[in-house]
Every structure is written in structure tokens, then in C-alpha cells.
């Protein structure tokens, strides 16, 4: 309960500071709208914002699911095969040196103006953290468990399935928690580069028309959704994957 009280108190302080700044400096509302105005816009434009939130939400969830599956399979493949490790790992690390931002236009070219390119963008953003966290955990299986399994006559595939993967699920969970925070960033980048729907598109549009209050309203919705997504993924991980720790 004190935690919730702390969060509420900190939000109140931030809002008071924000409103105070607006009143004291007297900045025009198209430069910095106060929280009261943003709240008003949030309410009056709720249908518009909700519509775009649903689009971004679909992109984020689809990208998250695909990224988790692909990242998980890659990590298992890398952990199972030293040859794959030698071939793929340098490539994987090199791919992280390419700013995903730079890829967004080409993804729009390849996957279209619709949600496809945004899902791919989200996937690209979360693929590495998921793969990396799960792979590291898969490589940290206690040697004594592997020795025991070998002595019991287990094949490498069965050791992977019955020991290494279950033992590494908490690591996979850490990857998913990171992914839940990164995924909306991917979707928004995709929407900024080229879209006709989604919160990223709405923010860009509002900014261009000097509707700064709408921009802030969309931004707040995005941030709240990201926090909720992270909390949901965290809860799901606690209830399932983390139990193996």
C-alpha cells in the first residue's frame, strides 16, 4: 500500500511542478500545454486516441509474440550447436551495431505502409534482448546436472529439453521483461517513418499541426500502456517461468 501511495505522491508532485512551470513562465499552450489542458484533450479526443492505441497495441503484441518465439528458438539453436554459435553469434552482435532507426524506411518499403512493417520493426527491436538473455541462461546450466544426465544415459537433445531449457526459463523471463519495455519503441519508430494509423502517427500529426496538447495526451497513453504491458508480462513470468528458479 505504501508503494502505491508513493507512486501517487510522486505523480502529484510531477504534475504540480509541470502546472507551476506553465503558469510561472506563461509559455504559449502550443509550446508546453499544462497538465489540466492535456487531461481535457485526453478526455475530448478519447475516441480518436483509443482508435490509434488499439492499432499500436496490436503491433506491439504481435511483435512481442513473434520476437519471443523467434528469439527463443534462436537461443536454443545457438545453445545446442557450437557450429551455429560460431557462425551466427558474430552476425547477431554485428546486427546490433546497425541502428534500427535506419532500417525503418526500408522495412516500410518491404513490408508496406500498414501494420506489417511495424510488427517487423518491433520484432527487430526485441529480438536481441530476448535471444541474448535466454542464450546466456542456457549456457549457464550447472555442469553437475549435465553430468548426472549423461550418466543416466541422456542424449544431448533430451538434456536440452528436460534440463537446460527448464533451468533457463527464468533467464528467458528477464528477456521478455526487457522486451515488454522495448516493444512499444519499435512500433512507434515504425509509425513515425510511415503510417496512417497508430499512436506514433497521431503524435507526429499532432506535432505538425501544433496540437501539442494532443501530442502529450497520446504520449501519456503510450507511457501508461507500456507500464501496464510490463506489469502484465512481469506477472505472467512470475506465475510461470520464474517458478523454475
Amino acid at each position: 500500500m505504501t508503494r502505491i501511495a508513493n507512486v501517487v505522491a510522486s505523480i502529484c508532485v510531477a504534475l504540480a511542478f509541470w502546472q507551476g512551470l506553465v503558469i510561472l513562465t506563461g509559455v504559449p499552450r502550443f509550446i508546453l500545454p499544462g497538465p489540466a489542458l492535456v487531461a481535457e484533450t485526453l478526455w475530448t479526443s478519447r475516441a480518436l486516441i483509443a482508435h490509434h492505441t488499439v492499432i499500436t497495441g496490436i503491433e506491439v503484441l504481435a511483435g512481442l509474440a513473434l520476437g519471443a518465439i523467434l528469439g527463443g528458438l534462436t537461443a536454443i539453436g545457438l545453445a545446442a550447436s557450437p557450429i551455429a554459435r560460431n557462425l551466427v553469434r558474430p552476425m547477431l552482435i554485428f546486427s546490433q551495431a546497425v541502428p534500427v532507426f535506419a532500417l525503418a524506411p526500408i522495412l516500410t518499403l518491404w513490408f508496406g505502409y500498414g501494420i506489417g512493417s511495424k510488427i517487423v520493426m518491433t520484432l527487430l527491436v526485441i529480438y536481441f534482448p530476448v535471444t541474448s538473455a535466454f542464450f546466456d541462461a542456457l549456457m549457464r546450466t550447472p555442469q553437475a546436472w549435465i553430468d548426472m544426465a549423461r550418466l543416466m544415459g541422456a542424449s544431448p537433445a533430451r538434456i536440452m529439453r528436460h534440463i537446460r531449457i527448464p533451468a533457463a526459463l527464468p533467464g528467458f523471463a528477464s528477456g521478455l521483461r526487457l522486451a515488454a519495455v522495448y516493444a512499444p519503441i519499435g512500433a512507434i519508430i515504425g509509425e513515425w517513418v510511415g503510417a496512417s494509423k497508430g499512436l506514433g502517427y497521431l503524435m507526429l500529426l499532432a506535432n505538425g499541426r501544433a496540437k501539442t496538447d494532443l501530442m502529450f495526451a497520446a504520449l501519456i497513453v503510450l507511457a501508461v500502456c507500456t507500464v501496464l504491458l510490463h506489469a502484465a508480462v512481469d506477472r505472467a513470468c512470475r506465475a510461470t517461468l520464474d517458478k523454475n528458479a
Binding site: 546436472w145 553430468d147 548426472m148 550418466l151 543416466m152 528436460h162
Partner: protein, 224 residues
């Protein structure tokens, strides 16, 4: 660099041999080499079984750490070997073994819910489930308190009675209580030590056992 010198180690079939020695002499490594999992060292020499068949697939190992998988129930831990081989897990046999080690009421629990002694008994049931004629024990009781240790020792001696057992230990009391034969491993090689009379597990307060324990400790101290 040779870890242990030229040694000849004989383990009589169907009996319990204790391998005693100071820490760092290579007892555990030797055990792992016999088990066929000692990747950290190489064995120059031969391992032969009394029936002439190879050891592979006929050895079980029980270590100081119980190695129970924390995400599995006690029953699932006991039947792990079968699942790792893709064989029938034989739940009936697992239940019978859990009854023998006194864990029937804890069968559905996770290892984290068990005490140290219960965990080691679960590991014993898992080892017995493997049904291997040769069992290697690597200080399996050293992490237990004195009372629990004596109980688990008795239980293990009773249940592994018809197996060929080689136990590594640093505890002279354990060797004196449980060994049909006692061997001391040192930098100079492997030497046999007369075991006290009587069938193991010998009573904790048996005079001859305590005498052997004392002499073993004196010898071990002298060899450091």
C-alpha cells in the same frame, strides 16, 4: 601433471568400499573418471568389472549436492532418468522407493520444501531408481548434521546392501561405520586399511569401530 600416482584400486563386487584421503588428493576426480564423466582429467590405465563387461551404463553416482531439479516434484525427480532416456517412468516403482526412503508424504513437494536429510533421501531414491549394479558415492552425507547423517547412512547402507559401492569420504567415522573395505588414497598411492569386524552399518558407539576411526584419523593427520 599426474593427479594421482600409479594406483591399483580393487572394489569387491557386492560390497561397500570406502576411499578415504585428505582433500585435494583427487578422490572425487577419480570417482568421476570411473563414472566416465571426468572431463577435467584423463585416465591412463584400465577399468575392468569382475564380469568382464564394460562399466558404461552400469554406474550411478550420488554426490554431496543432491542435484535435485528445483522445478520438479520429488516423484518427477526420482523418475528423471527414465524420462531422459525416453523410457517408461515406472511411477509404481518410484512410489515404492519413496516409501522405502520415507518420503511418501512428500512425493508431490518441490525440493525447496524439503529438509537437507529429506533431499538427500530423495537423491538416494533417484539413484536406486536407476537400478545400476555399481554405485559411486561422493561424500553424499557431508552436508548433513550428525543425527541426520547417521540416519541417512543407515538407510543408504540398508538399501544399497546388494550393490557394489565405492564411497569417497574425508570422514574417518563414516569409513569405519560403513566400509566392508577401507582404502586410503594419498600422494604415495592407494593402501588398504583393515575394516572393523561386523557387518555395516556398524553401531555409532561400537568400540572397535571407534578404535578404527581414531587410528584412521591419526594416519590421515600424519599423511598431511
Amino acid at each position: 601433471m599426474p593427479l594421482v600416482p600409479h594406483i591399483t584400486l580393487d572394489v569387491a563386487p557386492g560390497s561397500w568400499t570406502c576411499l578415504l584421503g585428505p582433500s585435494g588428493v583427487g578422490k572425487s576426480t577419480l570417482l568421476r573418471l570411473i563414472a566416465g564423466i571426468g572431463d577435467e582429467a584423463a585416465l591412463t590405465g584400465t577399468l575392468t568389472a569382475s564380469d568382464g563387461a564394460q562399466l558404461k551404463g552400469r554406474v550411478a553416482l550420488m554426490a554431496q549436492s543432491d542435484l535435485l531439479l528445483p522445478w520438479l516434484t520429488v516423484t518427477d525427480n526420482v523418475t528423471l532418468g527414465a524420462r531422459l532416456r525416453g523410457a517408461d517412468p515406472q511411477p509404481g516403482r518410484a512410489a515404492a522407493l519413496l516409501e522405502q526412503v520415507g518420503l511418501t508424504d512428500h512425493a508431490a513437494k518441490r525440493p525447496a520444501q524439503l529438509s537437507g536429510g529429506q533431499r538427500q533421501r530423495a537423491a538416494l531414491a533417484r539413484t536406486l531408481m536407476e537400478d545400476r549394479p555399481i554405485v559411486l558415492l561422493d561424500e553424499p552425507f557431508s552436508a548433513l548434521d550428525a543425527r541426520t547423517r547417521a540416519q541417512v547412512q543407515d538407510l543408504t547402507a540398508q538399501l544399497l546392501g546388494d550393490h557394489t559401492v565405492l564411497m569417497v569420504t574425508h570422514d574417518p567415522a563414516e569409513a569405519a561405520r560403513l566400509g566392508d573395505a577401507i582404502l586410503i588414497l594419498s600422494e604415495d598411492g592407494c593402501a588398504a586399511w583393515p575394516a572393523p569386524p561386523g557387518k555395516p552399518p556398524r553401531p555409532v558407539d561400537d568400540a572397535r569401530t571407534l578404535e578404527t576411526q581414531g587410528k584412521l584419523l591419526a594416519t590421515l593427520r600424519g599423511s598431511i
